[in-house]
C-alpha cells in the first residue's frame, strides 16, 4: 500500500481530516484535464512515508459532474490504494451508499464516522461496533476538527482489507440489489 485516498460525500470533513493527517506538509495540485482541485500530502504510517490524497467529494461512483468524475477516475487509477471512506455520523445511511460502492470495487477500506460530536448533539446514536461487524472493515468514530479518534483511525488503517459484499448482504439481512 503506497497511497491513501480520502473519499466521501460533500461536506463530511474530508479536508479537515486531511489537514489533520497530513499536517503542514500539504501541497496543492491540479488534476490534469480538469479545473477541479484536489490536495496531496504525506503522512507516516507504520514507519512508512505514504502519500495521502484528499479526493473531491462525490455522492456516488456514478459521476454527475466534473468533480465527481475526478473522484471516480482517481479510484480507478489507484488500484492498490487504501480508501478511507468518511461518513457524516448524523447522515450515515446516505454515506453508506458510497461506502458500499467502494467496497464493491474490492478496495481495502477503513470507515471514519466523522462529525461524531454533531451526531451526538443531535441525538443520533450509531452503533460503530455493529456497523464494523456488518461491513467487515474497521469503523472508527472521529471528530476531525478536534483530532479525536484519529490515532485509532491511523492504527486501524493497517488492518484494512477488502470486504466481501456478499457477506455484508448476508449479515445485513438484505437481498441483492434491484437497481436497474
Amino acid at each position: 500500500m503506497n497511497k491513501i485516498l480520502l473519499m466521501g460525500q460533500a461536506n463530511v470533513g474530508k479536508s479537515a481530516l486531511f489537514n489533520r493527517l497530513a499536517g503542514a506538509r500539504v501541497t496543492e495540485s491540479n488534476y490534469p484535464g480538469t479545473t477541479v482541485d484536489f490536495a496531496k500530502g504525506r503522512m507516516r504510517l507504520d514507519h512508512e512515508d505514504v502519500e495521502i490524497i484528499d479526493v473531491p467529494g462525490t455522492f456516488s461512483l456514478e459521476p454527475k459532474d466534473r468533480a465527481e468524475e475526478v473522484a471516480v477516475k482517481m479510484l480507478d487509477e489507484e488500484k492498490d490504494a487504501l480508501v478511507v471512506c468518511i461518513i457524516d455520523s448524523s447522515k450515515v445511511e446516505r454515506g453508506l451508499y458510497l461506502a458500499l460502492e467502494i467496497i464493491e470495487r474490492g478496495c481495502p477500506m477503513v470507515v471514519a464516522l466523522n462529525m461524531w460530536d454533531v451526531a451526538k448533539n443531535s441525538n443520533v446514536k450509531v452503533d460503530a461496533k455493529k456497523l464494523e461487524q456488518i461491513l467487515g472493515v474497521p469503523v472508527v468514530p472521529t471528530v476531525a476538527t478536534r483530532g479525536e479518534g484519529l490515532k485509532e483511525l491511523v492504527l486501524r488503517m493497517k488492518k484494512a482489507a477488502p470486504a466481501d459484499i456478499e457477506k455484508i448482504m448476508e449479515k445485513a439481512g438484505g437481498k441483492s440489489g434491484t437497481h436497474s
Binding site: Q9, S60, K91, R94, E101
Partner: protein, 75 residues
Amino acid sequence: MEKKLSEMKYTEKGRIKEIDKSLRAQIAGMGIREGKEVEMMTKQPIKGPVVVNVDRANTSIGLGLADKIIVEVER
C-alpha cells in the same frame, strides 16, 4: 394525495412513491429512494432547484429531476 416532488409546497411532507428509472441510480447516493420521507424546505425562484430534507439532511434537486419523482403527500 400524489403529486410531483416539484409541486410540493413549502414545509409539506410526504413519502416518495416512485422515482423515474432513468434517475434512480443517480440520486440514490443522496439518500433519495422510494419509500423515503421527504419534507420540502425551500423552492428557488426562476425554475431553480428545490431543497428537500431526507433523513435530516438537506439536499437540493434540480427542478427537472424533481419533476420525475412522485410523492405521496400527507394531508
